[in-house]
Structure formats: structure tokens, C-alpha cells
Symmetry: C2
Subunit: 210 residues, 2 copies
DNA sequence: TTTAGAAAGTGACTAAAGTCATAGCTCTGT
DNA sequence: ACAGAGCTATGACTTTAGTCACTTTCTAAA
């Protein structure tokens, strides 16, 4: 039997979800809470396996509650209940240890599936949320490995520029004269069609050279 | 009834998985393939709802096959079958449209749950994979919203520096004199404890101001 | 062997960036 | 009404950065 805590401020939604999941005899809502603080208090006094947590709640919201619960009771699974427009918070919730994202509007079977999958160690993200969240996570990973036409020395200097070093510091680091560093940088700027070291530093970071 | 294509080069694993999922009467393996190319060919001639796709296969691997299939038949769901050490490819597969990640070593119920969840529009990632993949996705997103102690004008100038603009260009953009821009930048550098505009540009990028 | 590119250097020069002192203007809050 | 913060501006100054021309050395390819 899976003991569920239902944290959701709207009593109507709470009743609806409760009815939906208790049609499955393995699932039992053993506690309810109207905000994050109540949720934490419930967990302190009851044995809970899984929390269905609304994101938006008055007082302490679902994100803070998730963070606290996962810190104190890492074994408790947390599924976020979200609406279409909550994907702003989705990434944060994942960081805080949530095991999935369910839409409040989902039909019963989706909800049940997600709960079982979660209890079995899975992570379920309903399609409508995943469609918004996953691209957001991926966009920061899409750096294509462009081959940068620089010699090893030029690359080394570019990296140091990307760390904010001055010519003097670069010269010292690489045991060169300042003049040589300048010459190299002139070369680099020409090759990459950039104007100055600031643009070069930006280039270096955007191409993951630092 | 869910029509499944099983793409997996090891015949033994294929048999095992087939037996596991066909214990559920709603699931039927209607086709098998030993590499990505065969998988695509099977889909051309058969009606398929879902593909269980191994990542590592001889010839065309699971990633390429996923990309091709999702492009030509976007409605077909694809679950990746992975081992512990494949998380390198996980991010790529997600980009290509995979609906989840299952471990080959998972017990039967997890597999079944994932298939149903997937067909219902969910995205299931088994815990062992999620534990490795999600942090990787999040690491590029972890910029905590540090409150940057800059006035609106200073912020605007910082952004432009982060775009690689010169003082003259910044002055023109904001309708200021070059001297004013310099003054602001001196202020900014002091506040942020930086040395020059290059370090400021780096700061701007790393704090997502550009 | 000649040639070409990468690497390192010097010197002289220009342009850009950054510092400092000082000052006027407008708003906001007490 | 007054102080403080923010924005603007000048002028004088120093320091860095960037360009250009020209030289040397080494190595690997034609």
C-alpha cells in the first residue's frame, strides 16, 4: 500500500484527485495539506511514501516544501502537480529532487501510472510539460563542436583571454614577451574576424574554451 | 493493443524483453530488428506504435535511427534501452525525440509501466539513468539568481559590454557621451571588483545578462 | 633544397580603455 | 527643505591594447 500526502490548496481539486487515485486499492491518501508548511508538518507526524505537491500554494509554496522535505526525508518521493503555465518552476523543482511532473488536468490512468512508476524509481514528466521543459534544459547543451582554426599557441592565449587575463599576465604564464602575446592576439582576431580581446573573451566562453 | 518494434542486436536480450512484455496481453512485439537500419525498414512496412530501441547496435545505432524515425513518423513513440554506461548518449537521444530511458536490467513491471506511461504521453526515465542525466542537464542551468548590485543604467552598459561593444558604440546606443560611459564602467568595475571590460564581459555572460 | 607555416621577438606608433576630480541635474524619501 | 542616489558631462591624465614592419628560428611538407 502506498501512503500518499496530498498537498494542494484548492479543496475541490484535492477532493477530485483523492477520488481518482483511491479508486486504485493500492493507493491511499493518508494526509492532506493546504500549503507547504502543513505538508512538512504532516510528514513529521505521519508515515508517508509519496507526496503529490501543488506548485502554487499560499504561504509556503511547493518548491520550498519540496526542498525541505527532500533534505530531511530523502526517501520520500515527490510528484509535482502543475498547470500548463508552471513550467517556469519545473527546472527548479527537478533540482530540488522532485520525481516528476503531472498535470492537474490529466486523466486518472496517467496519474496512477506516474505514481507507480515513481515508486519504482522512475521519473515521469507528462508530455505537455516535458515539451516545454526538456527543450529548455537542452538549449544550454547544444554547443556544436565547431573546429576553431587556431594553432595550439593561439588557442592557449585565447583561453587565457577568456579568463580575463591581461597581456602581461598571459606573457608571464606562457613565458613570452608582452609583444609576442600582442602579435598572437592580432593574428587570432584576424582569423576569427573579431575586433578586440573583449569580443575574443566572449567567443572563448561561447565556444566552451574556458 | 500496442504494437511494438524491438530493436536490439543481442538476440538473447531481445528474447528476454519480448517474453517480459508479452506477459501483458495488451502488448505485442510485431517486429524485431538487429540494428537501426533494419528498424527503419520494419517501420516502412509495418504498423508500429512504439519502438524499444537499444542505443548501441552495429551498423546504424539507436541514436541515428531515433532521429530518422522521429523525423518521418513523429507519432511513433521511442523508448531507449540503455545500460548503466550509456548516459553519454542520453542527452542526444532526448534531443532526437526519445520518450524515455529504460535500463535493460529493469524488472518487468518497470518496463511495462514505462510503456504505458509513454503511450499516454509521458516521459519515463529510470532512476539510475535520471540520476546521471538530470544533473548533467541541470548543471548548465544552475545560475542562481544573484542580485547584481547595479543601477539600471549600469546594467544596460554591462549588457552592451557583454555583447562586445566599444565605449563609442555604447555611447551611441544609449545617447551618451563616451566620457559618461567610461565613468559608468569605472563604477561598475569597482562594484563588481573586476579589472577591465573583458572581465566584465565574462561576468555578464556567466550571469546570463546577455 | 627550397618553401611555408608556426613561434618568438623588437620597436614605434595609434587608438582605446580606464582613472580621477569636479560639477550640474533630477528624483525620492525623510 | 535637504540629503542621497542616480545620471550626465568635461578635461586631463596614465595605462593597456592593438597594429605594423621586420627579423630569427625551427620544422615539416613539396
Amino acid at each position: 500500500m502506498i501512503r500518499i500526502l496530498l498537498a494542494e490548496d484548492q479543496a475541490l481539486v484535492r477532493q477530485g484527485v483523492k477520488m481518482m487515485i483511491e479508486q486504485d486499492e493500492q493507493l491511499k491518501v493518508v494526509a492532506e495539506a493546504a500549503n507547504g508548511l502543513e505538508a512538512v508538518q504532516q510528514i513529521e507526524t505521519r508515515l508517508i511514501d509519496l507526496v503529490l505537491m501543488d506548485i502554487r500554494m499560499p504561504g509556503m509554496n511547493g518548491l520550498e516544501a519540496t526542498k525541505i522535505i527532500k533534505k530531511r526525508w530523502p526517501h520520500i518521493k515527490i510528484l509535482m502537480l502543475t498547470t500548463f503555465n508552471d513550467d517556469e518552476y519545473a527546472v527548479q523543482a527537478l533540482k530540488d529532487g522532485a520525481s516528476g511532473f503531472l498535470l492537474k488536468t490529466a486523466e486518472r490512468q496517467k496519474l496512477i501510472d506516474a505514481i507507480y512508476s515513481c515508486m519504482n524509481g522512475g521519473m515521469t514528466i507528462h508530455e505537455e510539460v516535458a515539451a516545454k521543459v526538456v527543450p529548455r534544459l537542452l538549449e544550454h547543451t547544444k554547443r556544436e563542436p565547431v573546429t576553431i582554426p587556431l594553432t595550439p599557441r593561439e588557442l592557449a592565449i585565447t583561453q587565457l583571454v577568456g579568463e580575463g587575463k591581461t597581456n602581461k599576465e598571459i606573457a608571464e604564464t606562457l613565458h613570452l614577451s608582452v609583444g609576442t602575446v600582442k602579435n598572437h592576439i592580432t593574428q587570432i582576431l584576424q582569423k576569427l574576424e573579431l575586433r578586440d580581446r573583449t569580443q575574443l573573451a566572449i567567443y572563448a566562453i561561447k565556444h566552451d574554451l574556458v
